[in-house]
């Protein structure tokens, strides 16, 4: 039982990285960055390739972050920024993001093949911890996840741009009148968000392996976490992700594994229907620009 909980915490911390990355982009800019899942996938593939070329965790880390950030920034500059300049509607951004995700993911499949690949590290010698067995990857995932959450927390609390980020999430027009350089702040947010996605991608590559559709399920979970956390919330998304990881793994104790994605989807539906911010036709608040 405790094993499931610890598995869940480890998995959840991995998703937390993805969720925080998504929140850092979605909450301040309003862009529903579905292609975040593609950033995750490209980073994972980069890590896999790096480890095959040179078996060092450091180079794998650098490779995944480099590729992830490049993908993320490319998406911002080629897809989102032009739409923002044109003041395109969120629906148009959504369609673009959706298309971008598929284009990138299938490009990966075209180049690297559609089949799943693993690194075989999941079977490495387990560590004993509080009466449960954890693989080194799971332990690493937990550590990186905690460090990532700490880093985001400190960024938002203690840096100037972090405060702008929080301000942008709650009141965009006010921040712009203060003369903050919005394109640069957006680029920074995509950089940070993509780095977190890259870390998550690297860890998943080590843990389970890679395949072109890997980003989809993880992203759904991250999206549930961000929505459950609510508007203007960042850290709560991380905690929600951990909670979801635990819930999902506990469910594994009773349900067959094939229903995993379905559980997340069902949770997502419930979260959406219950969260006020998701509803249209609820009385809007004044000064609502989105």
């Amino acid at each position: 039982m405790l094993q499931f909980v610890f598995n869940g915490i480890s998995a959840g911390l991995g998703v937390a990285l993805l969720a925080l990355g998504f929140a850092l982009i979605y909450r301040p800019t309003g862009v529903f960055h579905i292609a975040h899942a593609a950033v995750f996938t490209t980073s994972a593939y980069a890590a896999y390739w790096a480890l095959h070329v040179y078996p060092s965790m450091a180079t794998a880390g650098i490779a995944s972050i480099a590729v992830g950030c490049s993908t993320g920034l490319m998406l911002e500059w080629a897809v989102y920024r032009p739409l923002a300049v044109r003041q395109a509607s969120p629906l148009a951004v959504l369609v673009s993001s959706f298309g971008a995700y598929f284009a990138v993911v299938h490009l990966i499949a075209l180049v690297a093949g559609s089949e799943a690949k693993t690194l075989g590290r999941g079977l490495a010698s387990p560590i004993r911890f509080a009466g449960t067995l954890l693989t080194p990857v799971q332990a690493g995932q937990a550590v990186v996840g905690i460090l990532g959450m700490l880093a985001v927390f400190m960024y938002l609390r203690f840096t100037r741009t972090g405060q702008w980020t929080r301000a942008l999430a709650s009141n965009r027009t006010l921040l712009l009148t203060l003369g903050v350089n919005e394109p640069r702040l957006r680029a920074l947010l995509f950089l940070l968000g993509s780095s977190l996605a890259a870390a998550a991608g690297l860890l998943t590559a080590l843990d389970i392996g890679i395949h072109p559709q890997m980003g989809f399920g993880c992203f759904l979970m991250a999206a549930v976490a961000v929505i459950l956390a609510g508007p203007d919330r960042f850290m709560a998304a991380g905690w929600a992700a951990v909670g979801l990881g635990v819930a999902q793994n506990l469910a594994l104790a009773v349900l067959p594994a094939i229903w995993m994605d379905s559980i997340v989807s069902a949770l997502l539906l419930v979260a959406l229907l219950c969260r006020r911010e998701a509803l249209v036709g609820t009385l809007p608040s004044l000064g609502d620009s989105r």
Partner: protein, 266 residues
């Protein structure tokens, strides 16, 4: 203050705060059948919010809004519209991907004709209603001078033409109460005359009209009744000509601070 037989709109003790900011404080306002009342005041005074509350887009914190004695609080916007309240939005909110004619037709079509099966099963009857509506819509567009633009997309028009489209849409259905938010902006002098003609005609037919306006000359052309809203309260209500003579009115309108409020004669 009870509502009389002639009163179409009764607003009692309406208050609304947004966080710490008190937007509306104990507002009392009424409008009778066939009366045109102008709501004036500096920007940010809460006038549009008042309209939002009446048309059901926002909830007030306290107070009541009655339409011919019936409370509107808690009703959905489309239910309020169905009771005969029509609104012109300050930012127009046109159906940009529909033609000018379609914009007006949407307002003219009752819900019975908007059943999906209606066209398929009772084709002839719906078609007859449609022809009738088209005639009415084109007639109205003629009144506002938009007949030539009838088949152009609303999003492609100039701002003046868009304003006229919005006006036509607002005046299309027979309403008991009209809420017009800045009807004269973006209009040139010819269009302004058409707009004021529409307003006077509606009032003559018994509709209660409330307008939010900054252009006092335009106000003067349609009515003499004004209410001044500033700092969240109705400070003065009365005749435009009377109030123009008092400096309290001008000071408040130009935005300088008011330390005491003197409720004038209604």
């Amino acid at each position: 203050m009870g509502s009389t037989d002639h009163e179409v709109l009764t607003i009692r003790g309406l208050s609304k705060s947004f966080g710490d900011h008190r937007l509306l404080v104990n507002v009392e306002l009424a409008c009778d059948k066939g009366e045109i009342k102008a709501l004036v005041g500096p920007n940010g005074a809460g006038k549009t919010t008042l309209f939002d509350i009446v048309s059901g887009l926002t909830l007030a914190d306290k107070g009541d809004v009655l339409l011919e004695g019936r409370t509107l609080v808690g009703l959905q916007p489309h239910e309020i519209a169905a009771l005969g309240v029509a609104r012109l939005f300050q930012d127009l909110r046109l159906f940009e991907n529909l033609t000018v004619l379609e914009n007006v037709l949407v307002a003219l079509t009752p819900s019975e004709d908007e059943e999906p099966m209606a066209g398929l099963l009772c084709g002839a009857r719906v078609a007859a209603h449609e022809r009738c509506r088209r005639t009415k819509a084109l007639d109205l567009l003629g009144h506002v001078g938009l007949l030539e633009q009838a088949h152009r997309f609303a999003g492609e028009l100039s701002s003046g033409q868009q304003k006229l489209t919005a006006l036509a849409r607002t005046f299309a259905s027979d309403s008991g109460l009209l809420l017009l938010d800045e009807p004269s902006t973006s209009l040139d002098s010819d269009m302004t005359e058409r707009a004021s003609a529409l307003i006077r005609r509606a009032a003559a037919a018994g509709t209660a009209v409330i307008l939010i306006e900054h252009d006092l000359t335009f106000v003067g052309r349609v009515t003499d009744r004004v209410a001044l809203l500033n700092l969240g309260s109705i400070l003065i209500q009365g005749s435009l000509t009377e109030l123009n003579r008092g400096s309290l009115f001008l000071d408040s309108f130009l935005g300088s601070q008011i330390t005491d409020s003197a409720p004038g004669a209604s």
